[in-house]
């Protein structure tokens, strides 16, 4: 197992180098530059040239790349053009808020999705199954920002139950976490439903029933564990998707996380922060994928990771 983890981590280093290099190139190929944004439309050409030179943007791309990689291996991504502080500090400062949002939304999605999936899959073709399946399809179809706006209109504006935006209290977390969780809940519910329905048709379930176990005991004791396998996979793989969702949700709810920092930094061509944030996000996604693989192998002894 340790050998597998070490091997995967070594491959991860290559992945991180690829991600770091790719984002370095992408931000520089994109039209516009940080100088135009920093100085604004009132700038003169002389000011533009001077600031470009002082930020080192007039150096050849290869020189900038070597310099960038040399610092990146020490996790030094330079100072944010816009914010004045080290880019990595800005990213790490925002990371807890996004982690909080991701954790809360994943928890909601898994608990709600598993519950609904079990309810639907336990009785395929029943009214509950139909309602859950239809709701899941609908939730997957709605754009995240639309769900967010609807929740604000209902719970903040009409009912005045929850704050419409901002952060700092548990109440502030509820709407953004639900917004991020709902589409994911739908995926988990559909997956669990199918998995449970299939598992309940397995011969060992019939054996368990013939031994006199109740429906509940069969469902929770025998069907659930096997049904969890695809759910674990999707949770691990969906971390990248959740990061993408965070970008939208954080903007709708003025949530001060990594997603809104990335949006602001891309808009303002703050190369250093975009590079640092991409590096961190790539690392997180990689680690979650590895964790999903490891948990998967633990849940199903039949599965052995390559090399173990």
């Amino acid at each position: 197992m340790i050998r597998v983890v070490v091997k995967r981590l070594l491959i991860g280093v290559l992945v991180m180098w690829g991600a770091a290099s790719l984002i370095f190139l992408i931000v520089r190929v994109a039209p516009g530059d940080p100088v135009s944004i920093l100085l604004g439309p009132d700038a003169t050409q002389d000011q533009v040239k001077e600031l470009s030179a002082s930020l080192g943007l007039q150096r050849p791309l290869a020189v900038q790349y070597v310099d960038y990689l040399g610092h990146a291996v020490r996790l030094d991504f330079g100072d944010s053009y816009r914010l004045g502080h080290p880019a990595m500090s800005e990213v790490l400062e925002r990371l807890p808020a996004t982690a909080e949002l991701m954790l809360a939304s994943t928890l909601i999605a898994v608990v709600l999705g598993l519950t609904l999936g079990l309810l639907a899959g336990g009785r395929p073709g029943s009214v509950v199954d139909r309602v859950v399946s239809a709701a899941a399809i609908a939730l997957q179809s709605f754009p995240t920002f639309w769900i967010g706006i609807m929740l604000i209109l209902v719970f903040a504006l009409a009912l005045r139950l929850l704050p419409s935006s901002g952060s700092g209290t548990p109440q502030h977390l509820i709407l953004p976490a639900i917004t991020m969780a709902l589409p994911f809940t739908a995926i988990v519910a559909r997956l669990t439903r199918t998995s449970v329905a299939e598992t309940l048709r397995e011969p060992y379930i019939q054996t368990a029933k013939s031994k006199g176990l109740t429906d509940r005991q069969v469902l929770l004791g025998h069907a659930l564990r096997n049904s969890l396998l695809p759910v674990v996979t999707i949770v691990g793989l969906h971390m990248g998707g959740l990061m993408g969702g965070a970008v939208i949700v954080e903007n709708v709810f003025s949530w001060p996380g990594l997603g809104s920092l990335v949006v602001d930094s891309v808009t303002n061509r703050d190369y250093e922060v975009v590079q640092a944030a991409t590096f961190v996000i790539a690392g997180i996604v990689m680690l979650f994928n590895l964790a999903a693989d490891l948990v998967y192998s633990q849940l199903d002894p039949r599965i052995r990771l390559e090399g173990s």
């Binding site: 944004i37 419409s164 109440q171 469902l219």
Partner: protein, 503 residues
């Protein structure tokens, strides 16, 4: 199976009810937290830095915060006049090159240290050395402190607009370094507020007891970052925010119906400005540019899109700007426009590129394009990201450029004097006669003479159709009725020092 279903449903229902009840009480508590002397501002513009000398220091968002923390020598009033802030009086020599400012006595920084003229002179040096956008208004200007209560500003050329130009210069204590992030984490200033917190989503200001004008009466002002207009308006209506501005016409009626809010629409210093690139071959001829202006029905567009926040502009600058002189309106006449274009040999096969930056201007520009197409002029409407827009703007990579030009100094020197001389290279237009008028206006210490000269310069810009100047912009402010002492500002830079919360 059935017991599980019922129990699960029951559990979910109870949990949801408990969560909502808990939230309900918590939220009510939260909204009352903005009372008791606390005010929440829904931030319209991003504030990433509060360094007045830094590259972003001149932006509207940073400036709004800077003016709460740091004082200036002088500041503009909402009516366009200038009043002393740290300076009590000022005078120039006959050439308008040397300006002497007498400082207010007994002013203290928020750390209790007394303000000296050396602080002002050092701040000016830092401001110039950092070469932010506003520093470009003071090319090779220097400031000295001959005594503790006097500073002397020496300009490299005659400059009668100096007092108004200084409205964007903020005074810091001596010794603040170029990239002194430690200072700006806990800044010391002579403004009405002190910085309590600067986080990614909010800036918290608390009264500065040392403020020479008396500490503000509110206990706290929180400026919340709310990039989405919908979020700002929702927060205003739920009571999570007390002040919002920049409300568009389509949202105004709803806000005006709310009995808990005050709504005021004020004339701003901004003018919709649509430059023609006079270096584009098709637009070199003033007759062509003028005809294109005549082809657009601006009165109707403004009436339809901006019934409350727009009015037909009659000058290059806004009415409250020093140097404003009304020009003869350009009449909408598509038939005459087409005839003039044909007579000028305009190639109707040419496709003009109209660039603009923000989605909020999409409809306006689309309407312009539509009117031009009615007379056979082809226009590509290009909405660009701000970074691309600015780069292309400076590189003259456009044929028609749309901008909302504000003028926080409320002096024509900042627009007419800065953007239209040949050396500015802003729009491909160059006219030595215009340059001469602008130089004369800058050098005249007689305010009436300056207005006259700028008026003549504006006439050239207007008649030669260096651009179209269709709309004078108004800003719609809304604030909670529990507040008093709030005065809307024509530059979107309201002063929070007079705010009071009514019980």
């Amino acid at each position: 199976m059935i017991p599980l279903t019922r129990r699960a449903a029951l559990t979910l229902g109870v949990a949801a009810t408990m969560a909502l009840s808990a939230c309900s009480s918590a939220t009510n508590g939260g909204s009352s937290s903005s009372g008791g002397g606390e005010v929440v501002i829904a931030g319209t513009y991003p504030v990433d830095s509060i360094d007045p000398g830094g590259p972003q220091g001149g932006g509207t968002g940073p400036q709004m915060v800077e003016q709460q923390l740091f004082s200036r020598l002088v500041r503009t009033k909402t009516d366009g006049s200038v009043e002393g802030d740290l300076a009590t009086s000022w005078k120039s020599d006959a050439t308008a090159k040397t300006w002497t400012f007498t400082l207010r006595k007994g002013v203290k920084f928020s750390d209790g240290k007394e303000l000296k003229a050396a602080d002002v002179a050092d701040s000016f040096k830092r401001f110039i050395d950092l070469k932010g956008t506003n520093a470009a208004n003071f090319p090779d200007y220097t400031m000295t402190a001959p005594s503790d209560d006097t500073v002397v500003l020496t300009a490299s050329k005659p400059d009668a607009a100096i007092p108004r130009k200084l409205a964007v210069f903020f005074v810091l204590p001596s010794g603040v370094g170029a990239n002194d992030t430690a200072f700006f984490d806990k800044p010391v200033g002579t403004g009405p507020f002190k910085l309590d917190k600067f986080s990614p989503n909010e800036i918290v200001l608390v009264p500065n007891p040392q403020y020479y004008g008396g500490a503000p009466k509110v206990t706290k002002v929180t400026i919340k970052k709310m990039p989405e207009l919908a979020a700002r308006l929702t927060a205003l209506r739920t009571g999570e925010a007390d002040v919002v501005w920049g409300i568009p016409d389509d949202q105004l009626p709803e806000v005006q119906k709310d009995s808990t809010l005050n709504v005021q629409i004020v004339q701003s210093s901004a003018v919709y400005t649509m430059w023609f690139n006079s270096s584009t071959p098709a637009l070199k001829d003033a007759a062509v540019r003028r005809a294109l202006w005549e082809a657009v029905d601006f009165p109707t567009i403004i009436k339809k899109l901006y019934p409350q926040t727009g009015s037909l502009s009659d000058s290059v600058v806004s009415k409250q700007t020093l140097g404003y002189v009304a020009q003869t309106p350009v009449k909408y006449d598509p038939v005459a426009a087409k005839a003039a274009l044909t007579a000028a040999g305009f190639d109707f096969g040419t496709k003009l590129r109209l660039q603009f930056a923000n989605a909020e201007f999409q409809q306006f520009n689309q309407a312009v394009v539509s009117d031009l197409q009615k007379i056979g002029v082809q226009v590509d409407l290009l909405q660009k990201e701000q970074a691309v827009f600015t780069k292309d703007l400076l590189a003259l990579n456009w044929d028609i450029n749309f901008q909302q030009l504000s003028n926080p100094m409320l002096d024509a020197a900042n627009t007419v004097g800065r953007l239209y001389p040949c050396a500015a290279k802003r729009n491909g237009y160059c006219n030595p006669a215009l340059d001469k008028l602008i130089s004369q206006a800058a050098a005249s210490t007689d305010e009436q003479e300056r207005v006259k000269l700028y008026g003549e310069a504006e006439k050239i810009i207007w008649d030669d159709a260096v651009g179209m100047f269709p709309m004078a912009v108004k800003y719609a402010y809304a604030w909670n009725k529990r507040l008093s002492g709030f005065t809307p500002d024509p530059n979107g830079l309201p002063d929070f020092s007079k705010l009071q919360v009514n019980s």
